[in-house]
Amino acid sequence: MDMLKSLWAYRGFILGSVKREFQLKYRNSLLGAVWTVLNPLAMILVYTVIFSGVMGAKLPGVDSAYAYSIYLCSGILTWGLFSEIVGRCQTMFIENANLLKKISFPRFCLPLIVVISAILNFAIIFTLFTAFLVLSGNFPGGSFIALIPLLIIQIAFSVGLGITVGVLNVFFRDVGQFMGIALQFWFWLTPIVYLLSTLPEFMRSYLIWNPMAPLMTAYQGVLVSDLWPEWDSLWLIVSLSVGLCFLGLHLFRKYIGDMVDEL
């Protein structure tokens, strides 16, 4: 409760930092915010060309020319949000060591700043994506609203994981290195670029244990085929989200003092 109160008192700092971060990113670039869009766009282009064009990947049962691109976007954009939060959270304490050591402010501002700016970046690109869906006549329909709870679950999962990793990374820098590798494997072990159905049966049974897989399937279902998510497939990620949020908060509170000494 006290924490919420002090965070509220520092709302100016949090929002100001988000704004500054945004400005900083594009301060010395001519195209500015266009890069936020160009980066994932380039990635989508590469995958579309390679997988759709060269390898002839087709989505079974869907005939839209853009179907595979939409499939890719729904995975890559949301994965981008996930990896940005986790990646930034794991280094936020180390990057702000100077601030933490010299200035007294509610420490929980840091993860909030990271999450808010990640959501902002995501909002920009996802709005453009939605505009594309509407203009190209591919807007899914009513199930679109299901993205909101899905995104909330995903953000909770990312924040919980991010803070846990962020705290651990201060004491054991191996954690950050490990997460860098782990995220790579994780990306390719999640059906984002390829279709779950193209995997052999035995592989598919293992992917149940990848918490991100059902989430991605849900996004793709909504955006490609206007299918409502199968909510019960999300039990693993929901319980992990709750668990990680508690673990992260616990670690954060317990070690914030030691952390400043260690930095």
Partner: protein
Amino acid sequence: MGTISVTNVGKAYKQYPGKWDRLIEWLPSFSSKKRHSLKWVLQNISFTVNPGEALGIIGMNGAGKSTLLKLITGTTKPSTGSVTMTGRVAAMLELGMGFHPDFTGRQNVYMSGQLLGYGAEEIEQLMPEIEAFAEIGDYIDLPVRVYSSGMQMRLAFSVATAHRPDILIVDEALSVGDAYFQHKSFERIRQFRKQGTTLLIVSHDKAAIQSMCDRAILLNAGVLALEGEPEIVMDFYNASLASHQNQTISREISETGKVQTISGTGEAAVVDIALFDELGQRVEILNVGQSVILRVVVDTSTYINRLVLGYGIKDRLGQVIYGTNTDLTKQALERVPSQTRVEFKIAFPANFGVGTYSIQTALVSTDTHLINNYEWRDLALIFNVVNIDKPHFDGLSWMSPEITIKKL
């Protein structure tokens, strides 16, 4: 509002013998035995600062001053004890710390203000005043990376003190910046003090501590070594700086009730010190501008290769207004045998302002007491200056003016 109370505070850093030990300690399944050792940097620190009071913290590098300030401002947590504060705190641990080089001064003002917990409108209101006080002109809209360190400091100071805080915590930061701004910032701090701000200041600057603080504490190797009047603490600190072996530091209460700090290795000692007028009479009260002779008698107890007498005349606040030594005057004594009595006679005009003054003496081998310190004696002699035949004047020194006025 504005109370700081530090109770039994200690700070220890955990040290692990190996890289893996922390991990093993974290894993709950292994033995609950602690694998780290504690390195104590501060122990058993207790003091309170009352509202409106100014406390100076003195100590050598590594004595724990900065750690103590960090504990007080809350950036680090104490391992034992507690720190409580009431009122709004402004801390200047390292000025310009929150500044981002790529942003303009104005943007950085917003950021630091927000870090202090101000809202955007509040900062907007304060902005003109901050700009005016910092006096950096058009630079305010340029990125901070093109600022000189002095400019950064001025801007940071202006932000930190834009509002009068209940408690102001100042680290050595103020020693940066040019003399003009130093004066200006000290003036602002003085004004805050008048309005009731509690001040906590860490400094090596004797003048700053003595002119600003009501009380001082001396930290030595993580413990509170001495607490008291700034002058006494400063003298003791000065004496302990020459921390050679065999040195003793003693503090005697002189007849006037002042505390005399005597330190040194004791190869030589001042046995008599007095002021004489032109007629050879011992005097303790001098007229402004009167010619006097300071006579210092020194005994040596062993052979001394090189003996230098230094002396300083200090004002009521303990600031040295004049000081020199026989090394600087090229009159050092070489190869002084044991059991020798030496008389030094120093003639000078008492061009002082009205008030009480003290003389400190130092018996050393060079021009500093940090190499060989045979004896260092603070408040060796106290004398008063009165104005008998001069027109009234202000200040510490008599400048004997000749004022000519002409109607043009």
